[in-house]
Symmetry: C2
Subunit: 203 residues, 2 copies
DNA sequence: GGTTTAACTGAACGCTCGTTCGTTTCCAAT
DNA sequence: ATTGGAAACGAACGAGCGTTCAGTTAAACC
């Protein structure tokens, strides 16, 4: 399937994936044809089928790859510290990771209904693991008294929705850089979850 | 175009819109054919063109109608009171309004990229007016000292993303009813925006 | 009961879709 | 120079797409 040496150009497989991701993000999975993807790569449509069994698998593979990358990056974060420190790391990491790959994020959120049931279940399970990681931090914080939350599951979903919302407007080179955005969102998150007494002195 | 008396059944126009909304929400605009919509209504595909000039206009009309309804409902809210009271009204209303029409909300958010440029601009302008209303409340609150926010525009977008996120998991008859959900989210919103001194006594 | 009229049918248009597969190309090893 | 084999081509398949429109139906009015 792969040459020992890519003598003429970039490897075709990754270029197909990149083109598909870009087009799916821009126009939506159902609105993009295999011929459009092929044209973007500079190849005939039939060639795509040497790299993916079909269009659905191409989408599922992109989405699953994204979710696995997200979980790997989460696992690579430094552990330990207070729940507040962990939550700050999670918050900043979420914003930074998502801002760096807007197309994959967009596809992973918007094309869930284009997945066949098996693929949907597999990818939703990965998302669930990510949410669980945040929920665990919130529960730890409630246990130590650093956070005061009526419902950690809802708060998990609320915070992730808020943080992921950055992607709807963030553009590189805009009014604010990522450091500034992280700081603003971290302040919102921190105040929202903090127990009243510790709202200003977060340990 | 319309009969003086709908003697046999429901009027066809609204039924087409309802079927299209349901199918667009479930499968995505591009993945739904005019024949599917027609079949859902119990009519031939050609009949749809007595009610809409084309598929794109059907989508745009559904989205524009939803945004206008949202703005009308916002305008119908009681005015006056402190910024904190206004923000609570906005928060509760947003959750309640969106939870009541999940399909329209889903389509309005997910199918923006299916709109042709003119329709997109018109509908985005309506969304901007809704965001402006929230931003005005936040600015008023900062002016009175009730809120402490580094950036009202970002906070506006962050809060709307958080509140709209309810729609990704809320299902009627689930663990929590709307009153409970409103209360939890209002607590998160209130704490996130409140100036430190007033965090516990919101007037 | 005959006429009007709007709603709806159903066939047809040209086109694009995802996918298959026999053929051609061309690098790499002999 | 020849050969082996992977990569890509490009034509073809049946199906379905959005849209049009001449014709059919049936309720409403005189």
């Amino acid at each position: 399937m792969s040459r020992t040496q890519g003598s003429r150009a970039e490897l075709t497989g990754p270029r197909i994936r990149a083109a598909a991701l870009r087009l799916f993000a821009r126009h939506g999975f159902a609105a993009v044809s295999m011929r459009q993807i092929a044209a973007e790569v500079g190849v005939q449509a039939g060639t795509l089928y040497s790299y993916t069994p079909d269009k659905q698998s191409l989408l599922a593979s992109l989405m699953e790859g994204h979710m696995e990358e997200l979980l790997e990056a989460l696992a690579a974060l430094p552990a330990g510290g207070t729940p507040t420190e962990q939550l700050e790391r999670f918050t900043r990491h979420h914003i930074r990771f998502h801002a760096a790959r807007p197309e994959a994020v967009f596809v992973a959120y918007m094309e869930l209904h284009s997945l066949e049931p098996d693929n949907f279940a597999r990818i939703e399970a990965l998302r669930g693991r990510y949410e669980d990681a945040l929920q665990q931090i919130l529960e730890d914080g409630c246990a130590t008294g650093a956070f005061a939350l009526p419902d950690t599951k809802l708060t998990t979903l609320a915070l992730i929705a808020m943080l992921t919302g950055v992607n709807t407007w963030f553009r590189e080179g805009g009014r604010l850089d990522l450091d500034g955005i992280e700081a603003i969102y971290w302040q919102l998150v921190q105040k929202a979850v903090a127990a009243p007494d510790t709202a200003r002195a977060p340990r």
